[in-house]
Every structure is written in structure tokens, then in C-alpha cells.
Amino acid sequence: MSSNTNTISLGSTFSRGIWKENPVLRLLLGMCPTLAVTGALKPAITMSICVMFVLTCSNIVVSLMRNLLKPHLRIMMFTLTIATFVTIADLAVKAFAYEMSQTLGPYIPLIIVNCIIIGRAEACASKNNLVVSIVDAIGMSVGFALALCAVAAARELLAAGTLMDFSVMPDKFVPWAAMSMPVGAFVVLGLLLGFINAITNKSS
């Protein structure tokens, strides 16, 4: 019986990151990467993988040291843990995908100040055991990845007529250059949030 309730709560821990508490679309956290790296799908996917790695690792470490944390120093500890893992991710991207690291530029180190990661450390990992923290981290990163890919797919499709660099639009399609500029990022994300609000309002 107890294992049954345990599975249910783990399942809901995982799924809440995807829809109910989606970090980008519902909690409006981590907006900077959502706007900055969504010019095309490939950087968006690389970014999502980096965030998943950093979030999972930092949640593991924070969860393991949660009983040792002093309240007034905890934010500092979180940030240092995150900065360490971001350094690892940054070096890995530079080593295995150098061109991608040039495209992403400072936005990989900027994962350090991504509010999602510090928010999950504070709200989940510092209060829960290892398994719950890992499941929560994976759920949240999947939600983040979905939001990023949704924005990136729309922008890449409209700006260049391609998806993952494959041409998908008919020949007569005229590329809409504004979509690859900052204005495209803001407007697409704004409309996406509005669309999701509309769905939620209707169902409630």
C-alpha cells in the first residue's frame, strides 16, 4: 500500500513540471534562455540538455547536503554548487560541440542565474529525499525543454522555413526575418503564454 502511494506521488512529482507547474509557461522562471536561445531548434535542444544536467546534479547534491545547510548561507551554497556544475557543462559543450558553444555564447554560463535551478533547490531538493529530488529535476527539465522547443520551432519555421535545418516549407514561402530578431522572441513567447492562459481559463 505504501509503495503504491509512493509511486503515485512520484508520478505527480514528475508530471507537475510538465504542465501544472511548468517552469517557463506557468511560473515564468528562466525567461532569459527561453528568449535568447530559441532562434532555432538546435541551440534550444543543446540548452535544454545542459539545463537538465545541471538541474539534476545540483538537485542531487543539495538533497544530499540538506541536513547540513545553515539557513542564512543556503542560497550561497546553492549558487556555488550550481556554478560548479555549469562550469562542467560549459567545458563539455566547448569540447564536444565547439560551434554550438560559439552560438550560445554567454548563455551557457548564464545557467548559473537561471531562476528555475535555484528555485528547485530551494523549493524541492532542500526539503525532500534523493529520489523525489531527482524525479522533480527531470520533470522540471522536460517541462523547460518542451517550452523552449515550442518557441524555437515556431521561430525557426517562420524565420527560415526550416526545422532542425531541414527545409519543410513550400518553395514559395517568404522567410519572415523579424522572427529571428529579438522582437520575434518576445512576441512568440507572449502569444504562447496567452494561448495557454486561454486553454486554462476554458477548462476551469
Partner: protein, 196 residues
């Protein structure tokens, strides 16, 4: 004279052309969160300007005098975030002591400056743009803060008027703010030709 002209050009470029909020998407969280009222937006802008000038200067010095000197670039991010967290702590203590009412109205947003991407972003951009001159680094840091203040104050002024407007229910709040910000970036795009 050329030297001062170069500094002025750098200042204008970081305030208007390479505005961190509108072209580099840094500092979006406070930009959406605190831009509801003009006086709070201005206070936030001033706090960020102070922290970013301090952090930009100190991290540039650490980067060039210690990290590059001894080949410790790997620890760059950890050092930067420590400096920023320290600077924010300093500002928080100062504001709480001397401006208690401002401190009350900031609430959670003051400690959150630590996680304001604009500050870490500027420190990283100083490194990325390969700024070799100390005075230029200070001017760019200060300009980045002013650029943030300009963007957030314009946004706050628009949003105060937006409250009177009849916006469809589902795009009230964050969505309409984002779309407004998008249109603002188009306006700022007009500055792009100012400095080659």
C-alpha cells in the same frame, strides 16, 4: 580627445544599441516582475546600476589581475557569482539600514538581484568583448545599469497606462507585457545604425 570620444561611444552603445534587456534578453525576470509601478522600477534600476557597476569593476579586476595571471580561468564563473552575491549582500544591508521603506517595497526582489542575469551577463560580456582597458570596463558596467534602468522605466510607464486599456482576459499580465517589450525592441533597433 579620441579616448574620451571612444568612452562616450561605448557608453551610448551599451545603453541604446546593445541594451542588455532588449537585445540580449538579460534581466527579464525583474523586467517583468517589478515594472508594475514607475517609482519601484526606478528604485530597482538604481539598485541594479549600483550592483552592476561594482560587480563589473571588481570582476574585471579579478579576471585580469588574478585569474588570467595564474591561468585559473576555469574558476571564473564561481568567482564571478561570489563577487555578485557579496555585492548584493552589501546593497541589501545598506538599503535596509538607511531606506527602510524602500526595503519594504522591494520585498523579495532585492536578494533576487543576485540571480539577475543582467549582472552576471555583463561580467561575462566584458570578458567576451575582450575589454582590455580598465576605464572602459567601468564605463560599460555603469552604462549597462543605466540601460537596464531606461528599459525598465519605459516599460513601467507603459504598463501604468496599460492597466486602463481593455486587454483580452487571456493575454492580461505577462503575455501583453512580453508583446509590448517586443514592440519596444523594434523601436530600439532604430538605434542600430548610430555607431558603426
Amino acid at each position: 580627445m579620441d579616448y574620451i570620444g571612444g568612452l562616450i561611444a561605448a557608453f551610448i552603445s551599451v545603453v541604446l544599441i546593445n541594451n542588455l534587456v532588449l537585445t540580449k534578453f538579460l534581466g527579464i525576470c525583474p523586467y517583468l516582475g517589478v515594472s508594475g509601478r514607475l517609482d519601484m522600477a526606478f528604485g530597482m534600476g538604481m539598485a541594479v546600476t549600483f550592483v552592476v557597476t561594482l560587480a563589473g569593476t571588481v570582476t574585471w579586476l579579478i579576471d585580469h589581475l588574478i585569474l588570467m595571471e595564474y591561468g585559473l580561468e576555469v574558476t571564473r564563473y564561481v568567482c564571478f557569482i561570489l563577487v555578485i552575491a557579496g555585492a548584493v549582500q552589501l546593497v541589501e544591508m545598506y538599503v535596509r539600514k538607511f531606506f527602510p521603506s524602500l526595503y519594504e517595497s522591494f520585498g523579495i526582489f532585492l536578494p533576487l538581484i543576485t540571480t539577475n542575469c543582467a549582472i552576471l551577463g555583463l561580467c561575462l560580456f566584458l570578458n567576451l568583448w575582450d575589454i582590455q582597458n580598465f576605464v572602459k570596463a567601468v564605463v560599460l558596467s555603469f552604462g549597462a545599469g543605466i540601460g537596464f534602468t531606461v528599459a525598465i522605466c519605459i516599460m513601467a510607464a507603459i504598463r501604468e497606462n496599460l492597466e486602463m486599456a481593455d486587454v483580452p482576459k487571456s493575454i492580461k499580465g505577462a503575455p501583453i507585457t512580453l508583446i509590448t517589450a517586443g514592440i519596444m525592441t523594434l523601436a530600439f533597433l532604430g538605434f542600430a545604425g548610430m555607431i558603426k
